[in-house]
């Protein structure tokens, strides 16, 4: 780690003021991603601003319109185990609990989770070219070992995936991200928060330097009757997804009234397909229809030398997870496939 100064921010305004002191100044929340990357010299900072003691935004609040607001500085574990989340937004609870380990979830915050960086091996290795770490240097993954990389939405500059589980559920639930900054407050719809790599893969999301996430809003619809999160990976637990799926269905007499299907581990952001979800509307909730949806969602998917298996894996995961959503009680700890 390089040398830096450390200070604690007391309010959101104080945090925003402190981070203006230089382009290299950074917030630290749980530290689980930032400190790791600093140890690898992937990220350097001259001033670290601790946001854990900021007044407010450490809890869940009810909002007027029936939805709720998740504080950005609340931990992932407290969020997942909160009775409101367990009962009204169980998809979110499941997705959070499928991520990392219990220790890491006790540290990781909701704001930090949205801003975690990719786990691309070359991004982590400062001795290799990587457009995300060093714009213009090239992408080592395209012609290299790319088993974990993207099959949707990638570009010639970068084929990395965004590794969060929590964000896959937030995408399905159509959350909103609330931000404060030097020019005031603003909100972004979840789909507008993260970016595709294009030719600027160094920019993961639409948060600017100096801005801080204060909270995440969830609309009132939690899909608690028919939901499921499935995570497929190289070991059963404590590993990132090769493919994950969040499914939320609203059913009426076996007919799909509304569906949300979001994929993780396949793209630079949680992936949703308007065409796929539109196809399901008004259709029977059957394996056959879920199979057709899977084909629609994976239209345009492209693999590289070592990750083409993910295309078929994603299709099967979608079908399996939609079937699991019909009987959410069949879900197993760690978002494994039900038996």
């Amino acid at each position: 780690m390089n040398n830096f100064t450390y200070s604690k921010a007391s309010t959101v305004q104080d945090a925003v003021n402190r981070v203006q002191q230089g382009p290299e100044a950074k917030f630290v929340a749980g530290g689980t991603n930032l400190i790791d990357l600093m140890k690898y010299h992937v990220i350097t900072t001259d001033a670290l601003i601790d946001v854990n003691h900021v007044e407010g935004y450490h809890a869940i609040e009810a909002r007027g319109e029936g939805g709720i607001r998740l504080g950005a500085f609340m931990t992932n574990a407290k969020t997942a185990y909160h009775p409101i989340i367990e009962q009204q937004y169980p998809l979110l609870s499941r997705a959070i609990l499928a991520g990392a380990s219990a220790q890491i979830r006790n540290m990781a915050t909701n704001g930090g989770n949205l801003l975690q960086r990719t786990r691309c091996y070359y991004f982590y290795d400062v001795n290799t070219p990587c457009n995300k770490r060093e714009p213009g240097s090239g992408c080592s993954a395209i012609g290299g070992y790319n088993r974990i990389m993207a099959i949707l939405g990638a570009s010639e500059s970068c084929i990395a995936v965004f590794p969060s589980d929590m964000c896959v559920a937030l995408a399905a639930l159509e959350a909103k991200v609330n931000i404060s900054g030097p020019h005031g407050d603003r909100s972004l719809a979840f789909t507008d928060f993260h970016r595709l790599p294009g030719n600027t893969p160094d920019i993961d999301n639409n948060l600017s330097h100096g801005e801080i996430i204060t909270s995440i809003d969830l609309p009132s619809k939690g899909f608690s009757d028919n939901y499921s999160y499935l995570k497929l990976r190289d070991r059963n637990s404590y590993a990132f997804a090769l493919v994950s799926v969040a499914t939320a269905l609203e059913l009426e007499d076996g007919i799909v009234r509304e569906s949300r299907i979001a994929l993780g581990g396949v793209a630079h952001k949680p992936w949703r397909s308007a065409e796929g979800e539109a196809f399901l509307q008004g259709k029977e909730a059957t394996k056959e229809n879920f199979t057709r949806v899977a084909e629609i969602i994976l239209t345009g998917a492209a693999g590289y030398q070592y990750n083409s298996f993910k295309i078929e894996l994603a299709k099967r995961a979608i079908v399996r997870n939609c079937m699991m959503a019909l009987n959410p009680e069949t879900q197993l700890p760690g978002a494994q496939p039900s038996r």
Binding site: N3, N52, A102, S237
Partner: protein
Amino acid sequence: MAILSIVNQNSCEEEFSLREVPLKINGKLVNLQLRPWVSLLDALREYAGLTGTKKGCDHGQCGACTVLCDGERILSCLTLAVMKEDAEITTIEGVGTENELHPLQKAFIAHDAFQCGYCTPGQICSAIGMLNEGKAQNREDVKELMSGNLCRCGANSNIIDAIMEVKNETI
């Protein structure tokens, strides 16, 4: 890391200067002179002389450095000591007493739940945290909720046996 940092020290002596970091470790208040980038793990091992907590990977991937922070299990390698100034830290040295081992320590011995013992302090602190959380209903849950602690000797099934024994006794 600490030694390297001192070598790296440049003209910004003032800004990066040592600061007094009061830490409450195992019920005792210790004032350590630390630079901001010292991890809680290094503070415990290199500055407070508590070497029970182990450094496995130093990157959040093994759980060997697990300690309790205000009763919750965390990874001491991924947090800075300065970030824990007001917290109560419990390490493996503080879970039992001179005369009486913690029930999990006894159960680990009874079930032969280690070989080299390197992962054991983290396993025990993590298991204490897990039992405090009260979310595990059965053996499957315990396995899932203890997955953040790797054992490269493969003592896992005995580790889970030991934890299950204490869990069933405390219900």
